[in-house]
Symmetry: C2
Subunit: 257 residues, 2 copies
């Protein structure tokens, strides 16, 4: 199974701490040895760092752990290949431009028969189920809203909920979809989140000996949500998402649909 990690925050925040916990799962404490990727949004722009090497060996993963890139929205993925060979074009997250914004997607799970679903505006570059699912999602969204996003973005994500239910019926669809402002999370069987806000405390990672005192790293107004396949810390309460449930985050806050 692949591992997902996402972050939504109301102030540019680095993800070094959570990323450190995730990356050791890439071939060290767990068997996710087939590459990793992370997308940081900074204003309207985004940059994606990818490597087809195991994240615990990757020079690029090392840079990300050490170099605090600050972002209000991050999507990350480490891969254990089941469909599609180990290569850069099969490494999540995937991105496409829609309505003049960069949309990003990362997925954990297999989707039976997904490649029978017809695409229109977007075509996959690699051979994974996941990228096909992403291209299908965006194709359907752009078929419905060809020129621009609906005025209320909740209308859009309610439509994504319907599409996600179709994916869910085909297998396992734990996934993130984001335009850099909104982070949409869908759970089939494995997704947890936590929102940290004042008063901040101390957190201890599960996969590596590392503790951070968020009081030292934050201001009282910061709101930061982290979403991950499995809880990354041992001494905090993470919300476990239910099968078929979705959650939309904007600036760190859960945004009811």
């Amino acid at each position: 199974m692949c591992e997902l990690l996402g972050m939504s925050a109301n102030i540019p925040t680095d993800i070094c701490f959570s990323f450190s916990g995730l990356m050791v799962r890439g071939g060290q404490t767990a068997a996710h040895k087939d590459g990793f990727g992370v997308t940081f949004y900074e204003d309207k722009g985004c940059r994606t760092f990818k490597d087809a090497l195991p994240s615990c060996q990757s020079e690029i993963a090392k840079l990300i752990k050490q170099y605090p890139i600050k972002s209000c929205c991050v999507i990350s993925h480490i891969r254990q290949a089941n469909r599609g060979r180990v290569s850069l074009e099969n490494t999540h997250p995937f991105s496409r431009e829609m309505w003049g914004r960069d949309w990003t997607f990362a997925h954990n799970g297999q989707l039976k028969g997904i490649k029978l679903l017809k695409l229109s505006w977007y075509q996959p570059v690699g051979t994974t189920d996941s990228e096909h699912a992403f291209c299908w999602l965006l194709s359907r969204i752009k078929d419905k809203y060809p020129n621009k996003a609906p005025r209320d973005m909740k209308t859009l994500f309610r439509y994504v909920d319907k599409l996600a239910a179709q994916l869910n019926a085909m297998g396992i669809a734990n996934f993130f979809l984001s335009d850099g402002r909104y982070l949409y999370c869908h759970c089939s069987n494995n997704l947890h989140w936590i929102t940290r806000r004042a008063p901040f405390g101390v957190a201890t990672l599960q996969d590596v000996e590392m503790t951070v005192d968020f009081k030292q790293e934050t201001t009282p107004n910061d709101v930061v949500t982290v979403i991950a396949t499995k809880p990354l810390t041992t001494n905090e309460h993470w919300h476990q998402m239910q099968s078929g449930e979705s959650a939309l985050f904007n600036l760190g806050e859960l945004t009811p649909l």
Copy 2:
């Protein structure tokens, strides 16, 4: 003026040497202080490293100089902003998926009135002339070939030649366009290239004290072309491209249109 650097090779080759020469121009030996980006193609996939910081100060540029990512096609750009603020979304290279391939573009120059040109399939994320020009190029190409590339890619690039002439009439259009196999280069006023093949010799960088003996780094069958705004080495002969001229490279070789 911005600086462009491209590479086309018949075997995955690292660009550390040329990149070292280019990067000092990013705020050290020249005034290109407004960010840099580099795209490496690896098989069908590609990854882009970007930073809005000056390349001579960037942690990410330092990684690229030291970590030999091997690729048959590379596009790089360092920026001196004239249109569009300094930010990630305005940092070249720009990428879009077309026909299930990632297309990448980097540009040097200003294009007067470019934003009056109508777009269809692709919309810019940032505010630069360059990204608008890229979206216009791809929109026109996809209008003409909506479902797939023409069978002979030369047919496509002859069409790009016509579109490039339109851009050239609007100002300065030194640019690269690539799908990872073909590297198309258009010169308005400043572009030079060199093809290195056996017998390989020694090259000395112009901007930094560094010499490389390509004999030690290559095999006799390697063919590597480097294209840059200005020659990067002092002891080799670079072809100077003429105004309005284009050059298409595939696996390191100049490919007549």
